[in-house]
Amino acid sequence: MAARTGGGGSLQVKVVLLGEGCVGKTSIVLRYVQNQFNDKHIQTLQASFLQKNLTINRRRLCLNIWDTAGQERYHALGPIYYRDSHAAIVVYDITDEDSFTKAKNWVRELRKMLGDSCVLVIVGNKSDLEKNKVIQEKDAQEYAASVGAKHFYTSAKQNKGIEEMFLDLSKRLLEKEGNNSNPSSTNPSSTRRPGGITVTDDSIRTDRPSGGGGGGGGGCCG
C-alpha cells in the first residue's frame, strides 16, 4: 500500500512493532516519542498507538506506530496488524535467545505477507546488558542482511540507539516513497544531525483527540 499524504502534505506511514512480551518494545517507542523510560513513577501513557511527526530534508513524515501484543497466545493474530504496513520494527532482547527465535518467526511471516514492500528493522534491545548478551552481533547482523533488514542495537534504559534507528527507518521510508510527498517549508528550529540531514522533531502528540472520526483533520497527522 502506498503511503498517503495527509493534511499539510505530511506523509502518513504505518509502522508495526513486533516482539515478545518482555523485550521492551513499548519502552523503545515511549523513549522515542516521549523521551520517557519507565524506570519508576513516570506519568502513565497509553502507548499501544503512538505518533511521531518528523521533517527530514524538508519532507514531512508522520509515523503511526502500531504496537502488537507479543504474548505467545496472541501470535496468530499478527497478520491482522501487518496489513498495509509500510515498515516493521521487530525487537528482541540480546540476553534472551528465545526472543531472537521469535523475532525470526515474525520476520518470516512479514516477508511472506508483505513481500519486500515493507521496510524492515531488527532491533536488539537492552544493549546496556552487554555482559549478559547471548545473541552474537555477527549472527544478528548476518541474519538481518539475509532478510533485507537493517540491524540496530538499542537501550531504552540509557536512551541509546533509538533516535538513530527511527531516523534510518524514516529515511528509508522516504526513499521508498520517492517524490510522492510535498516538501514542506523549512522549519527554523531545525537541527543538524550527523549525515548532513536536517531533522526536525515536530509537534509531539500522543493524545490527539480523535474519537470516532470526529477530528476534522486539525492534527498534523489527520
Binding site: 519502552s27 502507548a47 497466545r73 491482522i80 496488524y81 496489513r83 470516532g212 472520526g213
Partner: protein, 436 residues
C-alpha cells in the same frame, strides 16, 4: 470512584449524534440549484446500488460505493458551492455524503445476503455465550486495573454498535472507538508503572467483547471495513478497529492453551454453558443494554424511591420510541421543514422537457435533504442513555459507588433524593417536548 473520575473515563468520547449536526451544512448546500445535477447523480447511484442487491459479492458493493465517493469527491472540489472550502471543509462534506448514502442504503448494504455475515454473527454469538464463564483472571487482567463500572460503561458504548438507529459506518466506528477510549482512560487512571503497550491492552479489549457479547459483530465490523472511506479513517481509528477485529478472532479460536485456565475447568465451563443453551435456559449475557448494570443501577435505585414511582410512565414511552426507531427500516420518514428555503420549481429551467418527472425529483431532493437533516435531530437528540449518563455522572455516582442506602446519613439521602427529583424533572421536560 468520584464524579471527576467518571468524567475522566469518558474523556474524548464523542457522541455519534454530533455527526448529524456536522453534516447539516453539506445538506444545506445541496439545496442550491447548482447542485441539482449532483443530487441527480446521488439518487441515480442509490437506485443502482439498491438494484445490485443479491446479485453481487461484498467486494463489488464496497468498490461500487468507494468508487462513487471518489468520483463525487472530485466533483465537489471543483464545485461552486464548495469553492471556498479548505481541505477540512471538503472532508466534512465527504463525511456527510458518506453518512447520507449509507443511512439511505443501510437495508441493502448491511447484512449483504451474498456474504457469510449472518452465519458468522450467529456462530460468534453462540461462542461468546459459551464463554461467559471466563473471568478477568483467565486473561491475566490485573485485578487492580479492572473496574466493573468502567467496563460496563465501555460495554454500553460498544453495544450501541448494534443499534439500528446508528446506521453509517462512521457512527458505528465511533461506538467502537468510544468503548476503547473508556478502557484506555481506565488504564491511564489505574496504571502507575509506566506506559501501557499492546501486551497489556489487548486482553482488556478481549474481555470487553466477552462482556458485551455482541450479536452482530462480524456484520458490523465488515460493514465498517467495506463502506467507511479508508482515507477518512485516521491511523489511530484503524488501529483500534484492528484491535477489536483481532480480539474477535482470538475469541473465535481460543482454547484452554490460550488462557490461564486448566483444561478441565475450560471444558467444564463450556459444557455447562452448552447444556444451558440446549435446554433453552439461555446463558445470561453479563452485560446487556436492555437490563445491563449501568442503567440497571439507576433503575434499581429508582425502584426503591417513592418519588420515582412513576418512572415506568416516564421511561416506557422513551423506550417505545427507541424501539420504533430501531424497527423502522431505512431512514425515518421525512419531516417537512418549510423554514429552510428550498429552490422553487422555476429554478430548474433546464428540466422543462421532463416536467412530470421534475416535480417528482424536486420532491425527492427535498426529501433527501429533509430526511437527512431530520434524522435523529428530533426524536433522539438526547438519547435516554445520554440522559441517564449525564445524570449519573452529575450527581448519582459518588453515592452509588461509595455507599449502600443503609449506610447513608440523612443528609446524603436527602441529596440523593434531590438527584432523583432532578432526573425526574429532566425526564418530564423531555416528555413534554415530544409529541405523544
Amino acid at each position: 470512584m468520584e464524579v471527576s473520575e467518571i468524567s475522566f473515563l469518558r474523556n474524548k468520547v464523542v457522541e455519534p449524534e454530533v455527526f448529524v449536526i456536522e453534516g447539516k451544512s453539506f445538506l444545506e448546500k445541496m439545496r442550491h440549484t447548482s447542485c441539482f445535477d449532483l443530487v441527480r447523480r446521488i439518487k441515480a447511484f442509490i437506485n443502482a446500488f439498491t438494484e445490485m442487491e443479491g446479485k453481487h459479492n461484498p467486494d463489488q458493493f464496497s468498490s461500487k460505493l468507494q468508487g462513487f465517493l471518489d468520483e463525487i469527491n472530485l466533483v465537489i472540489q471543483d464545485h461552486s458551492q464548495w469553492r471556498d472550502e479548505d481541505e477540512v471543509g471538503i472532508k466534512k462534506a465527504m463525511e456527510a455524503l458518506e453518512r447520507y448514502l449509507l443511512t439511505r442504503l443501510y437495508s441493502t448494504a448491511f447484512y449483504l445476503p451474498t456474504s457469510t455475515d449472518a452465519e458468522d454473527d450467529e456462530s460468534f454469538y453462540y461462542r461468546v455465550r459459551l464463554l461467559q464463564f471466563l473471568q478477568p483472571d483467565h486473561l491475566d487482567l490485573p485485578k487492580r486495573k479492572y473496574n466493573q463500572i468502567a467496563f460496563e460503561m465501555a460495554a454500553q458504548e460498544f453495544s450501541r454498535l448494534e443499534e439500528d438507529l446508528l446506521k453509517s459506518p462512521r457512527e458505528k466506528l465511533a461506538c467502537i472507538i468510544n468503548a476503547v477510549k473508556i478502557v484506555i482512560n481506565l488504564l491511564k487512571y489505574s496504571t502507575s508503572d509506566g506506559g501501557t503497550g499492546a501486551d497489556d491492552f489487548l486482553p482488556y479489549i478481549i474481555y470487553l467483547i466477552l462482556l458485551t457479547s455482541p450479536k452482530h459483530i462480524h456484520s458490523n465490523l465488515r460493514y465498517i471495513r467495506r463502506f467507511r472511506r479508508p482515507t477518512s479513517m485516521t491511523s489511530e481509528e484503524a488501529y483500534y478497529l484492528t484491535q477489536v477485529e483481532s480480539g474477535v478472532m482470538f475469541i473465535s479460536t481460543l482454547d484452554h492453551t490460550s488462557l490461564s485456565i486448566t483444561e478441565e475447568e475450560f471444558k467444564r465451563g463450556m459444557s455447562e454453558a452448552e447444556d444451558k443453551i440446549k435446554n433453552g435456559r439461555d446463558v445470561p449475557r453479563r452485560f446487556s443494554k436492555e437490563q445491563g448494570g449501568w442503567e440497571r443501577l439507576l433503575v434499581d435505585l429508582a425502584a426503591t424511591n417513592p418519588s420515582f414511582k412513576e418512572r415506568d410512565e416516564v421511561l416506557s414511552p422513551l423506550q417505545e420510541e427507541e424501539k420504533e426507531l430501531d424497527e423502522s427500516k431505512g431512514p425515518r420518514l421525512p419531516t417537512i421543514n418549510d423554514s429552510i428555503g428550498f429552490p422553487q420549481s422555476e429554478n430548474f429551467e433546464d428540466e422543462e422537457e421532463r416536467e412530470g418527472e421534475e416535480e417528482e425529483e424536486e420532491e425527492e431532493v427535498k426529501e433527501m435533504v429533509d430526511t437527512a437533516t431530520s434524522d435523529k435531530m428530533e426524536g433522539s437528540s438526547i438519547s435516554r442513555g445520554q440522559l441517564l449518563m449525564a445524570t449519573i455522572s452529575d450527581c448519582l455516582l459518588p453515592k452509588l459507588l461509595q455507599k449502600k442506602f443503609e449506610d447513608m446519613t440523612v443528609s446524603e439521602l436527602k441529596e440523593l433524593h434531590n438527584c432523583y427529583k432532578t432526573l425526574g424533572s429532566r425526564l418530564e421536560g423531555l416528555k413534554e417536548e415530544r409529541p405523544s
